[in-house]
């Protein structure tokens, strides 16, 4: 087996999130699986051999990978204490043993100090137990603080190798936590956490409402709406430098930001010319803001198509909120949703095929629904009364949304086919306005060979 590897230094550590100060790390966000699929794939993640001179963290790389795969609802990782054997290299694997344990796939590996002493090198192998073949062998260099992130990248690679679609473990989620509302001393926090709920950090704290956080395509920035001045403003916050910039503070509404796929433009809803309409702001500042829609109705919640050539938005121009599209040149307005009395807050899945919305048949229940734009099929995914703010995972596997449970704002997630459901359990406060990040840019180098022995 050939395993060539070179660990380039991770820039991820250097880009650690800028915190507001000490004491802002929040209670742990916990993501629990509510429903998984029947016949989830049995897999064993054997504890990776720890060969570093540093002490091994309490939560190991294999623990993180197992938890990720279990949470997806599509895998059934074996408990460590059921593992009779702990091979490290493919040559050591007794496939018969694992066949008896009814495991379809096996992941083995080791963590050692990087050759230059900075950080670690993780080597791992994904094996097919039935055929005895090696499906994937990789080694990656990670910085000293990046073991978790490395484990997420490995989870993504395993997910893709076995399911044929990219994983979304090396991502983050942003959301708003409101506490003390109605107490006269409310607190609103814009919070960012890893997709598995770890590293939960408040990046903005405010006594006035925060809403509509949205990620830049490189997952480095968040745009959001702040009422800090008593009026709505659109702010872009750099998560790595901590810098923030008010990018829109026009008279009237400044709302609903969305980055263009190239990150250069921010679509927003502004009512500076009367009714709320969609405008494009050039974040490079070279062009003045350009009005995209021109209509007396409400026009808000813009979202770019994957190619950046059109913008989907919510409008009540036909009487009730429905989803429309418009070309980036301002031409060709089409209505996209006809089923249901209320379709709002579009979120697009990969390649724009699926569109998640807030959906209502009448005035009663607001649920998350997905429109398949190829077949025209509509499926309602959630079962709450006041579900809102759908946000697709970047691989399209899950839709994160806000719901109310026992009078409290909570987050939940469901797979597009409705088979997998997750509950996101947080500390105190109302949780709302979730936004799933794009795939977090690589700071890691990997090399792989997928040839057999």
């Amino acid at each position: 087996m050939i395993l060539s590897t070179m660990a380039k230094r991770s820039i991820f550590t250097a880009l650690a999130l800028i915190l507001l100060g000490p004491g802002l790390a929040l209670a742990q966000l916990r993501i629990e699986i509510v429903d998984g699929v029947e016949g989830a794939m049995p897999i064993a993640i054997v504890p990776f051999d720890w060969r570093s001179s540093e002490p091994e963290p309490a939560t190991t790389v294999s623990n993180i990978i197992s938890a990720n795969l279990a949470r997806s609802g599509l895998f059934e990782p074996m408990a460590e204490n059921g593992m009779i054997d702990r091979p490290v290299q493919p040559a050591e694997v007794q496939f018969g043993t694992w066949r008896l344990l009814k495991v379809d796939h096996l992941v083995i590996g080791q963590v050692r100090d990087a050759a230059d002493g900075f950080g670690y090198e993780i080597e791992y192998h994904l094996l097919d137990v039935l055929s005895g073949r090696i499906l994937l062998s990789q080694a990656m260099g990670v910085g000293p603080g990046d073991l978790r992130f490395g484990a997420h990248r490995i989870s993504d690679a395993i997910y893709e190798a076995l399911l044929g679609a990219p994983g979304a473990f090396a991502t983050r989620i942003a959301y708003v936590v409101a506490s003390g509302e109605g107490s006269g001393d409310p607190l609103y926090e814009l919070v960012v956490a890893d997709a598995d709920g770890f590293n939960e950090q408040a990046v903005v704290r405010n006594a006035e409402p925060i809403l509509s956080p949205t990620w830049s395509p490189d997952a480095r920035k968040l745009a959001y709406v702040s009422f800090a001045t008593g009026r709505s403003n659109v702010i872009v916050q750099d998560l790595y430098t901590g810098q923030n910039e008010v990018v829109s503070s026009e008279p009237g509404i400044n709302g609903a930001p969305a980055f263009s796929p190239d990150g250069r433009y921010l679509a927003v809803s502004l009512s500076r010319s009367g009714s709320p309409n969609i405008w494009l702001i050039d974040l490079d500042g070279q062009q003045s803001p350009r009005q995209l829609t021109r209509h007396w109705s409400i026009n808000t919640e813009p979202v770019f198509s994957a190619d950046g050539q059109e913008v989907l938005f919510t409008s009540d121009r036909a009487g009730r909120p429905q989803i429309y599209r418009i070309g980036i040149d301002g031409e060709g307005v089409d209505r996209l949703t006809f089923e249901g009395r209320y379709n709002a807050h579009a979120s697009l899945g990969p390649e724009d095929r699926m569109m998640a919305v807030i959906f209502s048949e009448g005035n009663e229940d607001y649920r998350i629904a997905v429109h398949d734009r190829e077949t025209g099929r509509l499926s309602v995914l959630s079962d709450g009364r006041l579900d809102e703010s759908p946000s697709f995972a970047p691989n399209g596997s899950m839709i994160l949304y806000a719901a109310r449970q026992d009078g409290r704002g909570v987050l939940a997630a469901a797979s597009v086919d409705g088979r997998v459901r997750q509950r996101l359990v947080t500390g105190a406060g109302e949780v709302r306005e979730p936004a799933w990040s794009p795939i977090v840019g690589t700071g890691l180098t990997t090399s792989d060979t997928t040839d057999g022995r």
């Binding site: 509509s212 009422f227 009512s271 409400i298 005035n363 607001y366 006041l386 703010s389």
Partner: protein
């Protein structure tokens, strides 16, 4: 006795008295017909006429329409219902007569549906009140609409009663 103990004693005593009071089943009070008392006309000099909508004192006078500062709306609507017209007209008259007055019309929505759409809906309601005040010849430079959407509810239950109270425009004087 320290304060805490004294408080406990008072609370217990009050509870005891209440319990005693409950033991006697009171006769149902016969409806007392209010005698149609002629209100004696108070001296004209220091009396506020609640219908004088130019008088700053009426902003705090519960008998005056000017003390009413909330306009309520129907679901997903922004049209002004007839019962709120007199309130808006009273404030229009006040603003017209008091050039230094400044009014913020705070638009709000109930929690159902999308937050950004509700932000727009709150503004539409604020605009409807602004237009009605301008129709009452209030100077638009004294008026400003700010929408908070569903972000500042006055009532936090997820039911019709709360939703009705949250669908509103508040007429807020930043300067009288």
């Amino acid at each position: 006795m320290n304060t805490a103990l004294r408080l406990i004693a008072i609370v217990m005593l009050a509870g005891l008295l209440a319990a005693c009071a409950r033991q006697t089943t009171p006769e149902p009070e016969p409806p007392v017909a209010e005698p149609p008392t002629e209100q004696p006309e108070p001296p004209v000099t220091d009396r506020i006429d609640p219908r004088d909508f130019t008088d700053v004192r009426n902003l705090d006078n519960p008998d005056s329409l000017l003390s009413q500062r909330v306009v309520y709306f129907e679901f997903d609507r922004s049209n002004i219902r007839a019962q709120f017209r007199p309130i808006i007209e009273a404030h229009a008259a006040y603003v017209r007569a008091n050039p230094s007055a400044r009014v913020i019309l705070e638009g709000h929505a109930d929690e159902r549906g999308s937050r950004e759409y509700n932000l727009a809906l709150g503004e539409r309601r604020g605009n409807a009140v602004e237009e009605a005040m301008e129709a009452g010849r209030a100077n638009s430079s004294q008026l400003e609409v700010v929408s908070y959407g569903e972000e500042r509810p006055v009532c936090r239950n997820s039911d019709d009663d709360c939703w009705q109270r949250n669908r509103r425009v508040e007429i807020v004087y930043s300067a009288r």
